[in-house]
Symmetry: C2
Subunit: 325 residues, 2 copies
Amino acid sequence: MIKLAIIGFGNVGQGFAELLIKKRREIEKRVGKFKVVAIADSKSSISGDFKLEEAIEIKKKTGKLPEDRIAIEIVEGEDYDVLIESTITDIETGGAGLKYIKTALKRGCHVVTSNKGPLVVAFKELVNLANRKGVKLMYEATVGGVMPVIKLIRKYLAICEIERAMGILNGTCNYILSRMEEEKLPFNQILNEAKELGIAEANPSYDIEGIDAAAKLVILANTIYDCNFKFKDVERIGIDSITPEAFEIAIKRGYTIRLIAEASKRVLKVSPRLVPINHPLAVRGTMNALMLKTDTAGNIVVMGRGAGRKETATAMLSDLIEIYE
Amino acid sequence: MIKLAIIGFGNVGQGFAELLIKKRREIEKRVGKFKVVAIADSKSSISGDFKLEEAIEIKKKTGKLPEDRIAIEIVEGEDYDVLIESTITDIETGGAGLKYIKTALKRGCHVVTSNKGPLVVAFKELVNLANRKGVKLMYEATVGGVMPVIKLIRKYLAICEIERAMGILNGTCNYILSRMEEEKLPFNQILNEAKELGIAEANPSYDIEGIDAAAKLVILANTIYDCNFKFKDVERIGIDSITPEAFEIAIKRGYTIRLIAEASKRVLKVSPRLVPINHPLAVRGTMNALMLKTDTAGNIVVMGRGAGRKETATAMLSDLIEIYE
């Protein structure tokens, strides 16, 4: 019986629990029986014998869970095999998530996380800790949403040299840019529209300044090159100064403009770039895409939804299954 | 020590041997020591203590290998753990490859193949045989070249329902169609150009009639739906009657034309289809692409080279590594 503890029970944590309910049969066919032994957020929890459906219901109705133990108590004290960590991202300090992940790894538990912060702040430390303890630290959901980029790099392309990775790693920026391309409207107008649709946050700077893409790029580059790049190593330019005129000129020449995150052994860069209109990275809407330039496999491209409740949960579930398969 | 026997030593077999030489260190880091104990083609072989470099050299110079034992003798009699099968494809009978694969599986050996024929003719039989014997039958290289489609389906998307798969599975057709799109020239003219470039065969019917794409689709659909589709189950229309006029009309409306292979639980179909010019499947040149429509992961797309010596070898090597990792 695999014992799971879910820490962080917002959109992602709940989405993961929903997927466990929906796919229980398929999961157990592949990895055997499992049980969620505890769920916690920063101020409450549930543990013992409870139904996932009920936990979701209670959290939705009351905004909290029925017990008083908080996340760190569960992480430190509960008996679990895998920590499912989906707390709020803090890419400056790593936030509470960093503490949860470290604690779980030190206790010899596997970790599946959707949280970029801890990996941006302490990639090498966490990877080394997991290796030392002989457990798995899985983070497919942190980069490119549902695209299987981490598994592609670590498994399928393991014997390849990846000379360069270039990608669209932020769906909000891509939505704004592809709308600007289509509508020839000013940045601010499209941004406001995106806010109304819930595609951009009320404070959109995390996305439009390229911070989110840069954080993902750090994790991606560290995975590919087995390095310890930090957030400050990324050259970064956002998309807020792009004008309809720039698009007009680009389109006339057969190009569009996209926020491209690029990593090689030497350079980490997030910036708006001209992309040929027929290029695989000229994706539209909130899609993400990643192109890996390899020595023996040529260019490999993946595309998929970069965010979303079900999609993030699917990526996390693929991690859980990989641990046990 | 992993013992490999390479059967079929043409372009693909030699490419695989070259990759073993080039990547020996990376491979052994992941799966431990390996040795190619024998290489054979339909009329000759090499075995015992030999260097891969020498075997390639001899075959290139003389057109054959130095010993008289032929492929079937090696497959039946040699002591190996994994059969690397890359003989000539015959999608009607399965060809000699079918016999080699069956023999190896019956002997309790793993098989890595790049050969569509045996899987098109006897998918279920071979999969069942491998399961019964507790060995792996790996065939990533048979569909979509270097794109990791089989692993994506069997591993990453294992718990997803794949409602539909749509793809560009033949690089020759895609080259011809994307050139027709760009140049507005007649089919035959572009086909002749493709022949000169070595992108189309002297007898191109296998590609342009959609036979190759259909064979790949059978393997893909059987993998996704755990079925036993046969070649005759594929509705198939080739690309030879597509005119520059058809392209003109399509392009005016924002579409292009591509040979699309589509599989769902009920329908297997290969036919020229209108594809929006910005659609991920509107890839150009000899690239392949596959879009999987899933229940919880949305649409996932992969793109990569559909053929090529290094690319096919890379896909086969990823299979070998997966067996032992």
